[in-house]
């Protein structure tokens, strides 16, 4: 190689080395520059500004710039949100603009035990705003809008009765009244006409759910689900309830929160343990123990809870046995006795109800109203069904069916609904086979209820 070409080689070599060096530098810079570091610097500057003494100032200046994370192995989460939201636990940062704002009311759910994403969703491992807030491609858990944040309470707490989440409770109530279970399974109970809803909160966005309730066929072409005519707040509430159904398997400590004391759980216990055998409410029940209608006025809460723990300690010689309630159960029962809203509560105790009333409960529990309308009055569209393109009303089943026929129809269902026009798609809604899902005793009550729907004193005179 003569000198000329050697020189040329060195030229190329140097140039390429510079290119590789520059690219490495650029790659290093892009990796090293992360916006969270700016946020931390801003926080440190603020801390330095606030420092009252030189020592504090020194200390603030020595704050290392580093990733903050909350490890939650039980929840299989690593939440790095506090890398940017450094002041989330510092009340003196109340009212600061994000990301340095204070998170109010976090004492009941301390961050080190719960992290952030269990309630807010988003991507806990991420350390850039877009990725962490989850509005990026290939991340299906974007942050829950604050409007719907109550949905997260439903992951651990009973939706039905959580004073801190009234809209969630309302959503659960709407869900049961409207009759969603007639077609959809939730928690193993419900029909099979529509998809299961156990994980719907993780699969669908609030916008999708909203649009779906208003006009199901618009977001799911071919859907036979009737549009829901609900008020605005109720739509939001039921969307919220749906969002709470994430199907996330919560372990140990978090799952135990399901039995957090609540009046609803108290009512459940009250019914289950057969209190009504000795005590009465609303004039119904046993006479062995005192009536419990106004026990909240007669006794202090401390007395009542102690009575549940061990009756002898507060009323010596009583015949009431020691049931061995857990502390949470005792609390729940106390809660129930103090807060029961009206006399109707007693009527919800199955043993005291008439078959027709129990049947109404069964009708509600399995969501029959979803297709047959409230009180079986009908009016729910079922396009192309021979029965006036509607799901038949149940008001006059007493005239067309005998008891055994009704039982058979409910248990066996009717998969094929006769079509008005065979050329068009078959009617989307059909009667699912309830088989053994509705228990025998329930079925008796349900039939009794259905037969009672016929208006009194009316005779069609066929």
């Amino acid at each position: 190689m003569d000198n000329g070409s050697l020189q040329r080689f060195y030229g190329w070599f140097s140039a390429l080395c510079v290119v590789v060096g520059l690219l490495t530098g650029l790659g290093y810079y892009r990796d090293e520059y992360r916006p969270w570091k700016d946020y931390q610097r801003r926080f440190i500057a603020e801390e330095v500004r606030r420092a009252a003494s030189p020592e504090q100032r020194q200390q603030a200046m020595r704050t290392p710039i580093q990733i903050q994370q909350i490890l939650l192995p039980e929840l299989n989460r690593v939440d790095r949100c506090t890398t940017c939201h450094l002041a989330a636990e510092d009340p003196s940062y109340g009212g600061y603009p994000q990301p340095l704002a204070y998170h109010p009311r976090h004492d009941e759910h301390p961050f080190d035990k719960f992290g952030c994403t269990i309630c807010h969703r988003g991507q806990g491992r991420a350390t850039t705003t877009e990725d962490a807030h989850g509005n990026v491609a290939h991340w299906d858990q974007p942050m829950l809008p604050l409007k719907y944040i109550e949905a997260s309470c439903g992951q651990c707490h009973e939706a039905a009765d959580n004073p801190a989440a009234p809209r969630l409770a309302r959503g659960a109530q709407v869900f049961e009244t409207v009759g969603c279970r007639g077609c959809h399974k939730l928690g193993g109970v419900g029909g099979v006409v529509g998809p299961e809803l156990d994980r719907v909160g993780a699969r669908r966005s609030p916008e999708w759910l909203r649009a779906h309730f208003l006009e199901p066929a618009a977001v799911t072409p071919g859907s036979g689900m009737p549009p829901q005519k609900l008020s605005e707040p109720d739509i939001d509430a039921v969307v919220l309830f749906m969002l709470s159904q994430t199907g996330e398997a919560l372990p140990g400590f978090y799952a135990s929160m399901k039995v957090i004391p609540s009046a609803a759980q108290g009512l459940h216990l009250f019914q289950q343990k057969g209190c009504i055998g000795c005590h009465s409410m609303g004039g119904q029940g046993g006479k062995v123990g005192p009536a419990l209608d106004d026990v909240g006025l007669r006794r202090k809460p401390e007395w009542i809870i102690q009575h549940f723990r061990d009756p002898q300690t507060v009323s010596p010689g009583t015949v009431m046995p020691k049931f061995g309630f857990t502390e949470a159960e005792a609390r729940a029962l106390t809660d129930f006795l103090l807060h029961k809203r009206d006399q109707a509560v007693a009527l919800e105790i199955p043993a005291l109800m008439s078959p027709v009333d129990r049947g109404r409960e069964v009708f509600r529990k399995y969501g029959c109203a979803g297709c047959h309308g409230p009180d079986g009055k009908g009016g729910v569209p079922n396009p192309n069904a021979k029965t006036a393109q509607q799901v038949p009303a149940l008001t006059y089943v007493a005239d067309g069916y005998t008891k055994p026929e009704l039982r058979r129809l409910i248990q066996g269902g009717q998969r094929e609904i006769p079509a008005l026009d065979p050329a068009r798609p078959p009617p989307p809604l059909y009667m699912p086979a309830w088989g053994t899902t509705i228990r025998d005793a329930e079925l008796d009550d349900l039939v009794a209820y259905l037969l009672s729907l016929k208006p009194k004193g009316e005779d069609l005179g066929f």
Partner: protein, 425 residues
């Protein structure tokens, strides 16, 4: 002080001399010694034919593949420091690489893009060798080793594809292994062997990981060594007008028996020095070595460039009950997947078997030593055309499978916006 003088200074020091033995070569003797006395350089000859240096002939594709393999080894080891082959952890580790590990995403990008590039460069290298007739005697066996390296490269890329454990990985491997499952008799067994079960799961991840980080790199490394060794033993890079002689058989009985034979006398055969015009030869140092160095820098720079500006894909966590629509295999198998969509038997069995068989028997069928060392030699018109048609078909099917297939493997036009997804979130 330029890099040259810095180098000269270091090589002249006591430490430098202990390492290099020969100082910066000044004479031709020293240039030869520099090549022979260094472990890394002695793999290559002291002198090479000028023809071998022509970039327009070899396009440097073999070297590029080798460099990419080295980059992949380096970045792969770095990734191994963080990766855990567990279905519950792998995906989280990917996220940690991206968000908290210094240069984690950068290294992963390099690994990903270098892997795609290597598959491409190995394929192009095969095309170059075909079009220049370089697989003809005496290089038939090295072509075979090359086919082995090609398959190993595909295996490396394919096994690596699963490791991030995202939707892309899970379903690409699901589709890819089902293509293998279409083979008659051995197909289902082969699929079961690969996955360690009937579906992609922890067993499959464990196997793919072991294959990806140990088995296949070891095989590839060994075959690279054999491949390079044979390049030299077969007389360097192919060129026009070289002799076909390989090891000449010695008629031992004709040799005088009253003398002792040295190794060099017995082991004769083709080496770059045999039967060639000295005018066509140049010293490897610096002509070959320096060119190789420059090419290495170019390859590194290109991979860095890609890694800086494009991130390696990472989709949602693998979800065995939610297949994407369509689920696609890695790009180099998309041609096959397209064929499978017409007929599982033809696309999954006949065509791949034909391709591999054709590649294996090629150098033993097409033995005529004409047109060696020239691109698209006139004498090899038919071979060139047949091969080109095959390559064009492969490219066409791959492009269709990659860009023109949408939900349910239906036809889509990529430059037209697809209809909104029916089932959004």
């Amino acid at each position: 002080m330029g890099p040259g003088s810095l180098w000269s200074w270091f090589a002249a020091t006591r430490v430098g001399r202990s390492i290099f033995r020969v100082g910066p070569p000044q004479s031709n003797l020293e240039r030869s010694q520099a090549m022979v006395s260094s472990f890394l350089l002695h793999v290559q000859p002291a002198k090479v034919n000028r023809h071998a240096l022509r970039a327009s002939y070899s396009l440097g594709l073999g070297l590029i593949s080798l460099y990419l393999f080295l980059i992949l080894t380096g970045t792969g080891v770095l990734l191994m420091f963080y990766y855990v082959p567990s279905t519950t952890q792998a995906y989280d580790r990917m996220k940690d690489l991206q968000f908290v590990v210094s240069a984690g995403l950068f290294v992963r990008n390099m690994h990903r893009w270098a892997a795609h590039l290597m598959v491409a460069s190995v394929m192009l290298h095969m095309c170059r060798v075909f079009y220049t007739g370089a697989y003809k005697p005496p290089r038939e066996f090295n072509w075979l080793v090359g086919v082995g390296l090609f398959l190993t490269t595909l295996g490396l890329s394919f096994t690596g594809y699963l490791l991030p454990w995202d939707q892309l990985a899970f379903w690409a491997i699901t589709v890819g292994t089902s293509i293998a499952g279409y083979a008659p008799v051995v197909g289902p067994g082969l699929k079961y062997l690969m996955l360690g079960g009937n579906i992609v799961g922890q067993e499959a991840l464990t196997r793919f990981y072991a294959l990806h980080v140990i088995v296949l790199p070891a095989i590839a490394g060994l075959m690279v060594a054999v491949h390079l060794f044979r390049v030299r033993k077969d007389g360097g890079l192919s060129r026009p007008g070289e002799s076909a002689d390989t090891v000449q058989s010695l008629a031992l009985d004709q040799l005088p028996t009253n003398k002792t034979y040295g190794l060099m006398e017995l082991a004769r055969g083709t080496t770059p020095q045999v039967g060639q015009n000295p005018e066509d030869e140049v010293f490897s140092w610096p002509h070959l070595i320096f060119r190789e160095l420059l090419l290495f820098l170019v390859v590194v720079a290109f991979v860095l460039f890609l890694a800086i500006f494009w991130n390696a894909p990472l989709e949602e966590l693998a979800n065995p009950i939610h297949p994407p629509n369509p689920a696609k295999a890695p790009w180099y198998f998309l041609g096959l997947q397209e064929l499978v969509s017409y007929s599982a038997f033809w696309g999954g069995v006949v065509v791949p078997a034909l391709i591999v068989t054709a590649l294996v028997v090629l150098p033993y069928v097409d033995r005529r030593r004409v047109g060696v060392g020239r691109w698209f030699a006139r004498e090899r018109r038919v071979a060139t055309m047949v091969f080109s048609v095959c390559v064009a078909a492969a490219i066409a099917f791959t492009v269709i499978g990659t860009y023109f297939r949408g939900p349910n493997w239906g036809w889509v036009v990529p430059w037209r916006t697809p209809p909104p997804a029916m089932e959004g979130r």
